[in-house]
Each structure stands twice: as structure tokens, then as C-alpha cells.
Symmetry: D2
Amino acid sequence: MNKYPSDQETHAKYYGQICEKVKQDAFARFLGIKLLELGEGTATAELVVDDRMLNAHGTAHGAVIFSLADFVFAAACNSYGKTAVALSMNIGFLAPSFQGALLRATATEERRNNRTAWYRIRVESENELVATLDALAYRKNDYFVPIETE
Amino acid sequence: MNKYPSDQETHAKYYGQICEKVKQDAFARFLGIKLLELGEGTATAELVVDDRMLNAHGTAHGAVIFSLADFVFAAACNSYGKTAVALSMNIGFLAPSFQGALLRATATEERRNNRTAWYRIRVESENELVATLDALAYRKNDYFVPIETE
Amino acid sequence: MNKYPSDQETHAKYYGQICEKVKQDAFARFLGIKLLELGEGTATAELVVDDRMLNAHGTAHGAVIFSLADFVFAAACNSYGKTAVALSMNIGFLAPSFQGALLRATATEERRNNRTAWYRIRVESENELVATLDALAYRKNDYFVPIETE
Amino acid sequence: MNKYPSDQETHAKYYGQICEKVKQDAFARFLGIKLLELGEGTATAELVVDDRMLNAHGTAHGAVIFSLADFVFAAACNSYGKTAVALSMNIGFLAPSFQGALLRATATEERRNNRTAWYRIRVESENELVATLDALAYRKNDYFVPIETE
């Protein structure tokens, strides 16, 4: 019978590979998102709003704010080496932000079960809360790191 | 006392300017989103998923799907010439999509009040439902077209 | 190896038992909710707003509207005899309703996978849309009807 | 020209009347919900899950958990004496709870604008997080306390 390693074990043992995987996000690279921190179920990242990232009203595009939030969510829920995908996300836009702004997003884990996990994400611009999200991940029966079962 | 024109009147009278405004969305242009249709409270648009639009697992990025949905939402809620901004959006990811896929999103209006309006958005890839969203807009006391009050 | 019956097979074979189970919802009985229809992934139910179901402003309580919506969601996602539980729900309150109103809710299935399923719920009062919801269910590896595996 | 009092002023001056109004919630009384605390944009309340509050699977009904959360949300967003109504709410069900459980919900304000305000709600059962919600309120141009404008 297979015994799987714990989430803590895989996070610690494969930390370098997990960070590499998270950084392979092509869309995040395209937008210039920088990963600042990756922990067990947590992640922080930054993005500078440039002139390609504005909406028709000239403010920071909601989809850009969402993209940064989605990146830290993906990093946090994949931080154990087990493949996780987004099921649903709810975003509230609390305040506008503008060209040149440095946006910072942090994801924290509210709860993690075998198959599902819940994250809270906050996006700030210079200490003003710009958006908050709740996000739900589905955890597949797959690892993207080479775990060994006993 | 000012009497404002109806939403139907401004939509019809300023249709060309409204379409121009909607197309000024810099982020949508950056992603190659094409507006296919704009009506009263409705919009349809398309996007081809290219290699910059993938996530770390190699499938179409959730934030790209959201971006397309957000674009048709913005188009639909601004279709009356009155400035509208997103308050909240809830996205469910029903099925994955892949590089090369043609994504099509449609927004329809569930209800429109003076200050708030509700939209339903569906994103499909070759007739498979990829994502659904509910989106809530706040309608400002501003017009981005040169209305005349009586 | 166990081969499970299809969702269609269990829905048809155990339809009576599934309806009984759905009606065992104690809170729905407490509120006087009536199940009108149960199909494969669909359900319709009604509720009359009485004087216990008002909020502090004297209109129909949002939680009562939610309760009716939650009931048809639960009925729809459990309509195959396989135990399903709510993961997340998003409700938009489009219009107020009032004491004496007959509320009718319908749930339809947007997508059903092995482990997750998505539902759209609309709550109406005399053909006016009062609320819309997206709801996500988790489908356990359990049946509440006595299926036979091969 | 009318000058309105600040939210802090009305909260302090009419605190007793605001508490009375919040407690007039008929559905909350029907369920036995107890208000424990009401502050500026915050509220805490409790509920004991009894045998009328179970779902068909025999656990605490999601709509009961929602009802408690909705009550603290309503209390928090009406805590300034200005009439506020729910626009949208998103609930995640993180863990089941059971008959006899004491549920406690707390609402905190994430942001408050002139017309809209955002709340975060957590529902716990004996220090286990049962549900989290984001909730958005619309603030009307009405007061339910007898303010004086200058």
C-alpha cells in the first residue's frame, strides 16, 4: 500500500523545484509579476502597472489586479508539490489604482483538506486595499515533483 | 432641473463613440481581444490563447479567461455611455482550455438599476462551457459621451 | 473491480428514494418550502414569505431567499443518489421582495464532473428576478441509495 | 445646503436606536440569533444549531450558517444609522458543523465608501472555521435614525 509523504515534507524537500514550477507561469512572466515569497500555503508577489495594463477609463485594469491575485493563489495552492487548480474565485474591487502603481498581493490559506483548499488574497497599493478575493482550489491526485511513496 | 436622456437614447445616439471608448481598453488590445458585438447591455468578444497565455501547468491561464470575461462585462455595462465600473465578479472554472483555443465570451444583462447593474458572462471554447461569471457594476453619475440634458 | 452505475441509471432507478431524501431537509420543512419538481440535475421549489421571514427593514430576508435557493441547489446536486455537499455559493440580490410574496427558485446544472458540479439558480417573485446564484458542489464517493456495483 | 453628520457621529449619538433596529430582524429572532456586540462597522452574534436547522444529510444547514453570517453583516453595515442593503454575498463552506453546535459569526469592515461598503465575515464553531464570506452593501441616501442636517 502506498503511503504518501505529508504536505509539509514535500514542501520542504522539493522547495526549489516547487519555486521553479511556480515561476514557469508564462502569463505572469508576460506581465512582469515578481514572486517575493513562497511558504506553506502562502505567497506574495508584486507587479508594476504600466501603460499596457489600463482599462478604457484609464485606470489599472481589473483583470490585471485579478492576474496578480491569481498568481499568488496558484503559488500558494501548489506550494506542496501536489497539483492544484482553481475551481472558483470571487473578487471585490474596493478602490481604483493607477498607472505606475506598485501592486502587492498576498495569499494565505484558510483551510486545506485532501481534495480542496481555501485561500484569502489581498491586493494592496501603497498600503491601500485595492481588492480582496476568496479562492477555492481542487487538489488533484498528482504531484509535479518526484515524490516517493512507501 | 436636469432631465437625463434614457439609456436607450444614449446607446443609439452615441453608438459609434461608445464602441470607440470600449476599444480603448489597453489591456484588451495587448491580449489581442476582438470585440464582435455590442448591444444594449450585451457584448461578445474573442481571444486566441497563445503561448504567453499559459499557466505553470501548461493550460490556458485562468486570468486570461477572466480578462476576456471582464472585457465583455465592461463593454456591456458601459454600453449606455454612462461610466460604469466593476464592484465584484465571481468566476467558476468549469473546464480547462489549451494553447491555440479560440475563446468566446458573451455578457448579458440580468438587471439594471440607476446605480447598479448585474451581468451574466459565459466563456466558451468550441461550444464547451469553460467558465461562467456573475458581475456587478456600479454606475457613476458621469457620462463619457457628450449628452445634453433638458 | 467495482463498476459504478451511471448517474442517469441511479436517478431513474432510485427516484422515489431520492425525492424522500431531499424532502428530509429539516430546515426547508421548518420554512415551509415545497419541492415542485426534481429532475436530473434540476429542481424547482416555492416558498411564501411570512411575517417571520422579514429583515429589520421589513422586506423579505436575504437569508430566506438564500435558503430557498440552497434547497433547490441541494436537491439538484443530490438528484443522482450520490452524496453532494456545497463548497461555495455566490448570491446577488437584484430586487427586494415583500411579505406575502410567493418566491420560486429553479436550479439547473451547468456542468457535472466526477467530483464537482456547477449549478445556476434563479429566484423569482411573480416573474421578477429577485436573486441569482452560482453554486459549486463536491460529490463524495458515497451513495445515499443502495446501489449495486458489478 | 445640507451637511450630513459623520458616520462616527451618528453611530455614537444613536447607538441605542441602532441596536434596537438591528434586533428587529424577525428572521434572526425566529432562529434564536443573539447579538453579542455591535461596533462601528463590526458585529458579533451567536446561534445554537437545533434539530430544525439540519439538512437532509443531518448536518447543520448551509442556509442556517448563511443566516447567522447575514445577520452580522446587516448589523455591521447598518451600524451608522444609514440604511444599507445587501448587494452580493459569497460564502465558502470550509467544514461541516452539527446539531448542538454553538456557531459564532463576526463581521468586520474592509472598506466603506459613500455608496458601497465591504465586509468580511467569519463563522466559527468552537474555534474551527466553518465558513467565510465576502459581502457587499449598498448604502442608501436614507437614515433610519432622526439625524439633523445643518
